[in-house]
């Protein structure tokens, strides 16, 4: 699988990303007010959607672990959380860059900014706990966190939207009414990010499985075999 990804996956993804960048900069028309700064939005929102997808996958894996205690649920779970964190980091990094030009401020209490920051912090906590536990205790605790944080995704998202509808100081993100060409470029980006997400999670889960096997071998050597 690894060889296949190297020989086929990476070239294809590279070509698709080149195509994506072409679509963003040349195919999609320039936004009238925001000009070039709006281009960041294709990556920013796509990364955000992928991050949400990642945390949802982790949530499902948490339930999966409790229902059927198979290692794969734990492997995919940590993989999704880590990849989700990377995508959230992209969101949190690109957000302020765009906000600086669009709203003339690095940081604002925009609802979605807050949502993403909170999610990011939650799953950082997940990794901290994960690092300090081992064995079944770790798998049980991580599954619990994936579930509880997962429940919080929609609640946080909605509550912050409600919060702002009550204080309509700042409007929503511009660009909700997209021109057809913009829309095509946008959804292409989203799909491409998800396409990138899948192999990343697969690779990271395999790493986790390998790490577990390695640890088991190490213990075996340390404590002596049982035939």
């Amino acid at each position: 699988m690894k060889a296949l990804f190297r020989s086929v996956g990476i070239p294809i993804l590279s070509i698709l990303f080149a195509l994506d960048i072409w679509m963003i900069f040349f195919y999609a028309p320039m936004e009238k007010e925001l000009q070039a700064s709006q281009k960041i939005f294709y990556f920013h929102v796509a990364a955000a959607m992928t991050a949400f997808l990642a945390f949802t996958v982790a949530f499902v894996c948490g339930i999966g672990w409790y229902v059927r205690k198979r290692e794969v649920w734990d492997d995919v779970q940590v993989a999704s959380v880590e990849v989700g964190l990377v995508f959230s980091a992209i969101v949190l990094a690109t957000g302020p860059i765009w906000a600086r030009t669009a709203w003339n401020t690095w940081w604002t209490w925009d609802p979605r900014l807050v949502t993403m920051t909170i999610l990011f912090l939650c799953y950082v906590g997940y990794l901290v706990v994960r690092a300090s536990l081992s064995g079944d205790a770790r798998k049980n605790a991580c599954a619990a966190m994936a579930i509880l944080f997962g429940i919080n995704i929609p609640i946080t998202w909605l509550s912050i939207q409600w919060w702002r509808t009550i204080h309509p100081d700042i409007g929503g993100l511009p660009g909700t009414r997209l021109e057809p060409k913009m829309r095509i470029a946008f959804w292409f980006s989203v799909l491409l990010f998800i396409l990138l997400f899948i192999p990343l999670v697969a690779i990271r889960s395999r790493m986790e499985r390998a790490a577990k096997a390695l640890r088991a071998l190490h213990r075996e050597r340390l404590f002596g075999g049982t035939e």
Binding site: S134, G135, D136, K212, A213, R215, A216, R219, E220, F223, G224, T226, E227
Partner: protein, 241 residues
Amino acid sequence: MAPLLLAEGVGKDFDERPVLDGVDLALESGRTVAVLGPNGSGKTTLAHILALLLRPTRGHVSFEGRAVPRDPSVVRRRIGFVSHQPGLYLDFSPLENLAFFGRLYRVADVASRSKELLERFGLWRFREEPVRIFSRGMTQRLILARALLHDPALLLFDEPFTGLDTPGERLLLETLDLERRAGKAIFLITHDVRIAHAAATEGIVLAASRVRRRFKTDEIGVDTLEAMYRDALQEAGCATA
């Protein structure tokens, strides 16, 4: 008649490594089974599986001929367990501790039962003092009293002699005998061959996660048992104790 507790082919993995493998064991009323084994042989893990606190990775455990249910809370109440940690509230006095656990175990007359046990273990004088000020041996006596509080059908004792002085040791040996005669099934973990021989009717030697030997104490003497234990450890590749 089916034994009170039956373990068949029981094994447990921690961190993908087996710490216990293929253990068959039957605990019957009026019998005391000793488990001899060095540190890290899986004795404590076995005790936790028999106390229904840990689910085995492999194998099968049944209580009174029936498989252990998914929620084993009710079955657990029939068991008295002594482990390495106190499992008591150190800010409470012996009486308060026993009263609390007595309520959880639904003991009918906690007050008189507590008095009986505290007197038997020589703690009545300290009944109102917080456990925090107790010595190791006194705490151990209280742990034993708590394990017997609800008159369980099965007693699982993991190194119960730890911290006891000579009178305390004699007291515990007497108690074990008394409880066995009263029809309890007893499971006794120890690394002391002399105690295993004195207290048990039969036993197993556990080393490197597996049962290496089985013995009946009325068939062999202490010295034979000692030699058997040493052989088993050598065979399993453990450093001799």
